[in-house]
Symmetry: C2
Subunit: 383 residues, 2 copies
């Protein structure tokens, strides 16, 4: 396989963009990434998106966005892997360049979730779980995550309040990110008082329903040298799955998809957990943050909360996480989040992360998780 | 890029599968293709599907089907390019093997369209057109195709009845295909009497709303030699787009996406129109058949109807088309159709096409078209 580099990044602010259609957000992020890479027209566009068919009445997003962004005619397709659609789009774009089929492509993630009543959005997002055997019984995606969080609390004898460190860190990091949806800090007291959504998940355990778009320009080694002073190399790229339903897992809290994709990415990169300077994790719910750190090999099973409480996940800690706010505070436009994570990791590796810049950041991991951790995409990035 | 071969094919009958969920159809076709290739577990699964989010409440199809087919854990993602989703899934699977990331993968197309009232399906399929500037005004996908057919009749001074040759050929070829939805012949008289849907498109101009799944096993050259006595090589693979909306095209009937993808595939294969022994074209509406033959370089613009009427498209003609019934009579489970086309081309190249076997079939083209020909995927296959 050929080496693949990232030479351009672009993003829209995350928020409630009621006044802007999907194509507008997608084109803005795409053209910002191309401008950042000092180039104009990619050879292909891979669009990560989950629910545009259901909530926007629009499919054929590859065609729509390549047209609206000003380069109709190129290869373009949509990639969907539930909440990991953004990560999967980066993976598909990576394969297109690694294969030699294209030298310069865009990976875009775009999602609009806020235009319709919340019940519609909730129902659409339940399609990330097992529609026939889980969602059909009325269980929401939040309720399924609540089952995992309740089991974690019981199995490891921790308290719900122990999860606060993840939320406090994410909100603190978002305060200086101009593209974040929630740019205000929260305290342990705020977390303790946060209204319950699906016990034990409260509002502050949950990432927000959001709109947004983020994009990357990926290219071959030859093009990277001519386009950028500091191209970022994709050292490892892997996507793996698990069973779709929670009930069919041997061990509910093991998250085999995350384990597999991380191990494959480590192997490709020739690296291990100790080499990672930064982890952009999929903190859609705080339970997923804990399980991700464990399944990715950073801590032993059951140790993630203590690891976070000891300050390891802050910008100055041993493994900074969610450094631009994460899904929790930057926001979670579902099919876009996996691309935001890579954009933010590139900001860090370039030294462009402002107040939350991680010192000596050489190697970063970005991990996009879908369904009840039934699919995970892990990218390891470096210089 | 590495060479890529097809060593397994599988398909379900096309029809109204009210009693079977999406995952069941997808797993049946996938496992049939793996059995045909005498292998059990692929390294990755690329699922072509358009509207499962809207009509089945299920996304995350890569995870769902890899789990249900019995190989949970592998890489799996959904690929969407409207009605060309099946072709795009073949393209994504091709890139995964060509890159060297995987040696053996499955490309699956699966769609269920018949479970809900037809108005719901019609609305979902309109998402292949421009949702904001076309579908929002109430125009259906059939009505948009009718505009193209009306313009064709006017521009070239042909009669609606001249289109009958495409429909008669497709239905005749389907009579011996056990997987076809409509296995009955139709006559020019039937076509003349067929009730109007959106003038000038009548029922017999239109492919049926269908359910079904088709799958291919793709692999590297090394694996191909050990798995199959007659591996079929992908000689050319290309996906291209056009503007999403019909109103923004310079020439409505030129179908630039088809032109571009065909030219790119010819170039990669080192072949031209005269080298093609078989054309599985996207006959979703008979106007698309005509435009596809013209844009693919088989005939001059405006000459496709005469070409068909002269018998060239029949099994014994100079360019056999829709040899297993095409979208028109085999049926059109939207995101699956592009994979059915390649499966059928492989049947022909292997000499397994039964009563409609094309003699001396060495090189085949399969072409999947989406939206108002706003996206097209062309594959050229040979030995």
């Amino acid at each position: 396989m050929r080496e693949v580099y990232i030479v351009g990044i672009g993003q829209t602010p995350v928020g409630e963009h009621w006044d802007r259609p999907l194509r507008d957000l997608g084109a803005e992020a795409t053209n910002a990434a191309l401008k950042d890479a000092k180039t104009e027209k990619p050879q292909a566009l891979f669009v990560g998106n989950m629910v545009s068919s259901d909530l926007c009445g629009q499919e054929n997003l590859g065609t729509v966005i390549s047209d609206f962004a000003g380069f109709s005619g190129i290869e373009a397709m949509k990639i969907e892997s539930a909440c990991a659609s953004g990560g999967a789009a980066v993976r598909a774009a990576y394969l297109a360049v690694a294969s030699g089929a294209h030298d310069l492509v865009v990976a875009l993630g775009v999602e609009k979730l806020t235009d319709l009543p919340i019940e519609r959005t909730t129902a659409a997002l339940a399609g990330a779980a097992d529609a026939d055997y889980e969602a059909a019984h009325g269980v929401t995606f939040t309720a399924l995550n609540a089952l995992m969080m309740g089991l974690y609390i019981e199995k490891y004898g921790v308290r719900k309040d122990d999860f606060a460190a993840f939320i406090i860190n994410a909100h603190q990091n978002a305060t200086s990110n101009p593209n974040a949806m929630f740019r205000r800090p929260v305290t342990a007291e705020d977390y303790a008082k946060s209204p319950m959504v699906a016990e034990p998940i409260c509002i502050l355990d949950s990432s927000p329903v959001s709109d947004g778009a983020a994009a990357l320009v990926l290219c071959s080694a030859d093009r990277a040298r001519s386009l950028s002073d500091k191209p970022i190399r994709i050292l490892g790229s892997a996507l793996a799955t698990d069973t779709i339903g929670l009930a069919t897992r041997k061990e509910t809290l093991r998250c085999e998809a995350i384990r597999r994709s991380t191990q494959q990415a480590y192997k490709q990169a020739g690296l291990g957990p100790k080499d990672i300077d930064l982890m952009e994790l999929h903190d859609a719910f705080s339970i997923v943050s804990a399980l991700s750190l464990e399944a990715s090999g950073f801590v032993q099973d059951g140790q993630a909360l203590a690891f976070a409480q000891e300050g390891n996940i802050t910008v100055k800690g041993s493994l900074p996480c969610s450094t631009r706010g994460g899904l929790k505070a930057r926001g979670h436009p579902v099919g876009a989040s996996g691309v935001y994570q890579v954009v933010e990791a590139v900001e860090q590796l370039r030294g462009q992360a402002g107040e939350t810049q991680v010192k000596n950041c050489k190697v970063a991991m970005a991990q996009s998780v879908g369904g009840l951790a039934s699919v995970a995409v892990t990218h390891i990035l470096g210089n």
